[in-house]
Subunit: 339 residues, 4 copies
Amino acid sequence: MYSFRNDYSEGAHPKILQALADTNMEQTVGYGQDPLCLKAVDLIRRLCAAPEAAVHFLVGGTQTNLLVIASALRPYEAVVAAHTGHVNVHETGAIEATGHKVCAVQSPDGKLTPALVESVVTSHTNEHMVLPRLVYISDTTETGTVYTKAELTALRQYCTRHGIFLYLDGARLGSALTSPENDLTLPDIAALTDAFTIGGTKNGALFGEALVLAKPDGHFRWHMKQRGAMLAKGRLLGIQFQALLEDGLYLELARHANELAFRLRDGIAALGYPFPVASPSNQQFPVVPNAVMDRLSAMGYEFEVERAVDDTHTCIRFVTSWATPEAVVEALLKDLASI
Amino acid sequence: MYSFRNDYSEGAHPKILQALADTNMEQTVGYGQDPLCLKAVDLIRRLCAAPEAAVHFLVGGTQTNLLVIASALRPYEAVVAAHTGHVNVHETGAIEATGHKVCAVQSPDGKLTPALVESVVTSHTNEHMVLPRLVYISDTTETGTVYTKAELTALRQYCTRHGIFLYLDGARLGSALTSPENDLTLPDIAALTDAFTIGGTKNGALFGEALVLAKPDGHFRWHMKQRGAMLAKGRLLGIQFQALLEDGLYLELARHANELAFRLRDGIAALGYPFPVASPSNQQFPVVPNAVMDRLSAMGYEFEVERAVDDTHTCIRFVTSWATPEAVVEALLKDLASI
Amino acid sequence: MYSFRNDYSEGAHPKILQALADTNMEQTVGYGQDPLCLKAVDLIRRLCAAPEAAVHFLVGGTQTNLLVIASALRPYEAVVAAHTGHVNVHETGAIEATGHKVCAVQSPDGKLTPALVESVVTSHTNEHMVLPRLVYISDTTETGTVYTKAELTALRQYCTRHGIFLYLDGARLGSALTSPENDLTLPDIAALTDAFTIGGTKNGALFGEALVLAKPDGHFRWHMKQRGAMLAKGRLLGIQFQALLEDGLYLELARHANELAFRLRDGIAALGYPFPVASPSNQQFPVVPNAVMDRLSAMGYEFEVERAVDDTHTCIRFVTSWATPEAVVEALLKDLASI
Amino acid sequence: MYSFRNDYSEGAHPKILQALADTNMEQTVGYGQDPLCLKAVDLIRRLCAAPEAAVHFLVGGTQTNLLVIASALRPYEAVVAAHTGHVNVHETGAIEATGHKVCAVQSPDGKLTPALVESVVTSHTNEHMVLPRLVYISDTTETGTVYTKAELTALRQYCTRHGIFLYLDGARLGSALTSPENDLTLPDIAALTDAFTIGGTKNGALFGEALVLAKPDGHFRWHMKQRGAMLAKGRLLGIQFQALLEDGLYLELARHANELAFRLRDGIAALGYPFPVASPSNQQFPVVPNAVMDRLSAMGYEFEVERAVDDTHTCIRFVTSWATPEAVVEALLKDLASI
């Protein structure tokens, strides 16, 4: 039995656990203002070439998304997101619970473009409608695609022209940065967005998202506390990001996940199963006959059912991670070939 | 240098770290529905003699408080809390951010009584005012006091009579349960409240509050997700509570904290410093001359400044924890005696 | 110059003003609990054959919509609406500001069907997504169409089966009830919905919506006050609805509006201009060449621009009302013919 | 039978009704952007000597209060109000429903001073607490007292020094401006506050508050729409304020109310009944034996019961208005003398 359901099925990379153990009995002040967090903040600023940026550590992704959005917008302002965007469908109305509408726009590949954003902006013309003022994108997207530097630059330019806040949800930023289709660096992303996250939960940490704000908001910690997003032992987040980022572990883990995803993708494709949307990252979405899907399940492989394609075919999702053993991928391909 | 600022200045008790390491590479489903969490849920139900109760694991206290309150109340309903209550003053308006007023009532010792609650209830008489419908108490309270069984029973009866939800914030429940003034058991508390928490953060866990709901709300997980309070690797919470509760570690750690607090209290009192409110738990609030306070700081002891008593005296707070070494307490007393 | 922009371009029907003048110096208690309101409540219950219904008077439509929705839903629950629904696009995120997501579904004619609602319900399957729990419809719809008894009955049955609250926004209910395509009566609507409104603002009142709740919510007045929706001199609403409803004035005014709309529609159609969606009510949406549109404007006719159809054609909206003079319609048709 | 319960027991002053009738059949655009509203806006700017101010017309007081506060504050910011303040106790948590805490401070006479505000500001010191950022005062206050120019100036200076928004709720501003203790003018108030209202509902209008914002918020109309506070036939508000303010009617009506209140106060005082708080405005609060209170009721006089003073005495409230006949006041005094 092996689960390809997600990239957060295990605990943490052993180096993370070790870092927590190593610092365990140090006494520090709480709430993320301890020396361990400050050190991680410095490291992230350096990696992003953004010495003026504010860095905050949060426990989870939905928490981070709702915080960034609630802190960036006035009550009547709204979010623009792809219809597949995490904030649109997978957060139980977390954004709306802070009072803000999410204006979803159909996207063929999970990405937004200036033209897609423009279609929302131009249809909201007066005080009887919300004012779209924040663009939410994710990289990798929920469908596994990644942004190029040209694409992100185009969005940046559009947003700047229209006074729109550009937020990139990097829950799977490691997988994006190590994707063969990626040409963005951390400094690029820091320079091109108003806020973005470096996701830890899905790339080897126990939990945690590092939020980078290009323009510090002097009261962001008030927002955090108000939404229940300030961890008492905030240092736990700093320690983990220090361990992930100080020696390149973050990219190394993501590269492993991607490589196994591509091995899986190529193997499945070689067996003739189609992939409707090409994914250059650690989520792969093949379409298989329902009988094949059932056999794979019976063999002990776990995966997500993405959607029914027709009466006899289903699009399923395999996710690889830092922890996925190569042998399991090979076994799956062999088992699949045998069906 | 030693900090008595709080009971969450270190990481976690070594058994917690060990439990996390032991289970680290197990694959589980996410969001708290894994076997490790289910096992901890069962344990808590058993310890509380509450087989029908719902148990949810949350990361932090403010998060838990706002969730319980937002899920229990209709929009026009309000909370009754002591003026010292954590939800009233120390959560940056987290409750109000979910739309609910906190009706604060002056309390001499941080506790609520039926009479104090009644004073709020009877002054809210019609649709031009909020409807008080949830009583928030903490045990231990923010001033270190604890509820007796008679006191909690009286509140329960009042709340039942008036259709009011009774919620006990047990961020420091370990210290309360092991206090010499306590006569409540977990089953008592489970029977007498509508919801309560067993706090982990302040008693040896890395983080975590176990929330026990007497009457399960079938959609509580929807509330959790919406407020960003659902941990992806939810198992981390189950693992910790299992370790804390399976062999009595939870009470053992709290007992240690209390004993050192009493040693500290008795030693300080013996030196002639008064304690305005007697505390039978791990927070102690002596009043010292400012000069003494400054000397203690200069000697490397850290503590919270609670409030200025007069121009030359200050009430300060010492908090002991599972991690406080006896030797440090003795050293502090010796140093204090030398001033 | 004449405006067909809307059905609330004038003050009120003279009988409304007279009723306000007649009762002006009577002293009553405030907030809608006076004898004048109670009398109107009784009248509405009688007209709806709903003696148990609760009736509340509100000043405006958005106010009423946000109130009904905020009072009916729990925080994680959501609204299903047609993409054209007023709550989706024309209320500046008023529903989201109360914390609830609006799940919009593409509708060909502004109406919802069980199948359309089902498509939303079945795609929201777990605690990571909102729970659709209220269906919002309007009659007439924003595109002028009306529901038949069979259609409303089908929706009712679907909602009952799925525990969904069915709310009908009757801002233009007069126009619906007097439409040739309508076969619904007030008692039908009261029996088939959980809540609906009888709109006054767009049918001869100075302002006002009468909200009918099938199941009274004992604390609805608390909701009203909290949202700033309780009029101090609440009687003003009761007086107006009494005047509108006691002698059939309400339907008489709506019938006038419809008749002139049909005269307009038939005249415009006779000139060869198409109507993409057939409307049996007081809003008419012809498509005209831009040059014709500009000429009409230059002649002093005002109307809404609905949307660009192509580079040279625009869909425009004409709205007639209780106050529209027949002569103006004839003049417009003559002028249009002359272009 | 006569009611002294409130100053909104009747409809409107006849000149208001006449103004509505006179303009009834004019066609205008909706939502407060018509020529009638623009004319009233100009008039108010002129009367306030505030040509740059924004003026918005709202239907009710709670609606206006929640709008001003929600538009002025960031999520973690809070209101400072007297414990008697309308936003604190009489609006069913309307402010909290927009997410903001009201920090109430005990006030001996319903007024705030820099010292009282300071006591709140200095006790909110870090990100674990809300940030007080708006001072709410009312003039007249809920206890009938009025602010002097010196008092308002002192508050202004305090607020400016601390970056605090100063909002004056003028629901009874007419009574304040015509009080013998008042030395403030409309231009004074416009210059000394960030926002204030000129209340219509309690001084002769059918309904309506004119809100004056010293610094226009370009998106205030978005806020209005979102909260359901934009009246479709917005002109109804402009027409009423034009009628009230163009020829001094507003002050004339308030002066009448005050004079009758003083006649009532002096007559009651002459009979030996005490007034715990001296009120120089149209609300009067004598203390009477319960037997006297009951006899007055039996004689057909209606008034509010403010609070029990002791077992045998009650503080009651009489409110006079533009509509109170002198003869009724004399009759009440005669009847009271006969008890």
